[in-house]
Subunit: 208 residues, 2 copies
Amino acid sequence: MADENTEPKKLSRIQQRNRELIMNAALDVFSQHGFRGATLDQIADASGLSKPNILYYFNGKEDIYVTLLNQMLASWLDPLTALDETGDPIGEILAYIDRKMEMTRLFPRESRLFATEIIQGGSRVMDHIATDIKPLFDEKAAVIQGWSDSGRLAPIDAHQLLTSIWSTTQHYADFDAQLAVLLGPREQVLENGKAYLNTLFEKALRPD
Amino acid sequence: MADENTEPKKLSRIQQRNRELIMNAALDVFSQHGFRGATLDQIADASGLSKPNILYYFNGKEDIYVTLLNQMLASWLDPLTALDETGDPIGEILAYIDRKMEMTRLFPRESRLFATEIIQGGSRVMDHIATDIKPLFDEKAAVIQGWSDSGRLAPIDAHQLLTSIWSTTQHYADFDAQLAVLLGPREQVLENGKAYLNTLFEKALRPD
DNA sequence: ATTATCTATAGATCTATAGATAATGC
DNA sequence: ATTATCTATAGATCTATAGATAATGC
């Protein structure tokens, strides 16, 4: 029970397919109800597999949840990783915003899963945040701060800038249900949001 | 069972105190776990009352939750209501941001309760959003759009502007756990955030 | 007398496992 | 032979109620 993470055991085709079915169902269920609110029954129903069969593939509810989170977090930072120190400052940041908006468009459930987890204290991702997210966050913030300090961007707090980019872009996924009532259909809202954010940050970042 | 909302029955001092204890405990528990994830046991523990006693004051888990949401939503829009058409456009919007940041500072649990509810589909507040929030949202957006169209603000999509103010300000409450790791202690983060948002929106809104 | 609280428990829901059976890969 | 799935169920947790008892307000 100590070292069970050494399991690159080749997965059979069935294994692979069913694990994917479960992950997808779990994403639906956990992003809608959070960890505590979700049940294996719901995941079983959504995946089309029986409850005991699901526990044949995973060691339990928490195992499913943690596996799902890890899988998702692995690609969550890609848009920020791609921020290029050697590029044009404003162009780089606007491109980063576009990539984040694309994440929102393609992976709204993942965004909501992460949001719920953090809102509820984030005990299962805190390690990940400290270990993986913070270093990248600080590194890229330093790049942006460098641009700002050297006058290639307006004077700005880079950490706060990144925070506001996260909040504005992820909001379109997380508060989808509210925005559908207040602003209209999803695709259109995202399109308008993208244009708006580009204008907003372009004006705010332009030096002088 | 039809018209039980006619209950302005004067509450005894004990009634009032215990209902408040329960509301406060429920805010803790529901904002941390969402509706499905919360249990009466947790609320009982947090309030110091017994479980059956809690059900003496409320008709059940859902009754507690809905009462809490309604209570909270009643004041949630106050900052927006105060936006004054006859004031200075940029000053009014920056003051609105300050009020929202103050809500974040004073009522982070309420913000997280609302966020979790919306992320999870918002079935229990959709009516409220359509009936109470949307009209005010549209009215104030029209005011701002008027300012923008008449050149007193930069050209801007007022609905999107309000959306981005909500997302940026509420983010400090909702993603508190993450920001504590990435940015540092809460009070300081809020202070920096307030200054940052003022600069950001001031630059973005200035005409010309 | 009325209001508030407690003990005890019914009945539903949930996670997880045991053990049998069916399907698949050599 | 090994992998995958099913039936049945144990044991824990949860919401809610019944019915008795204690506290409070006239």
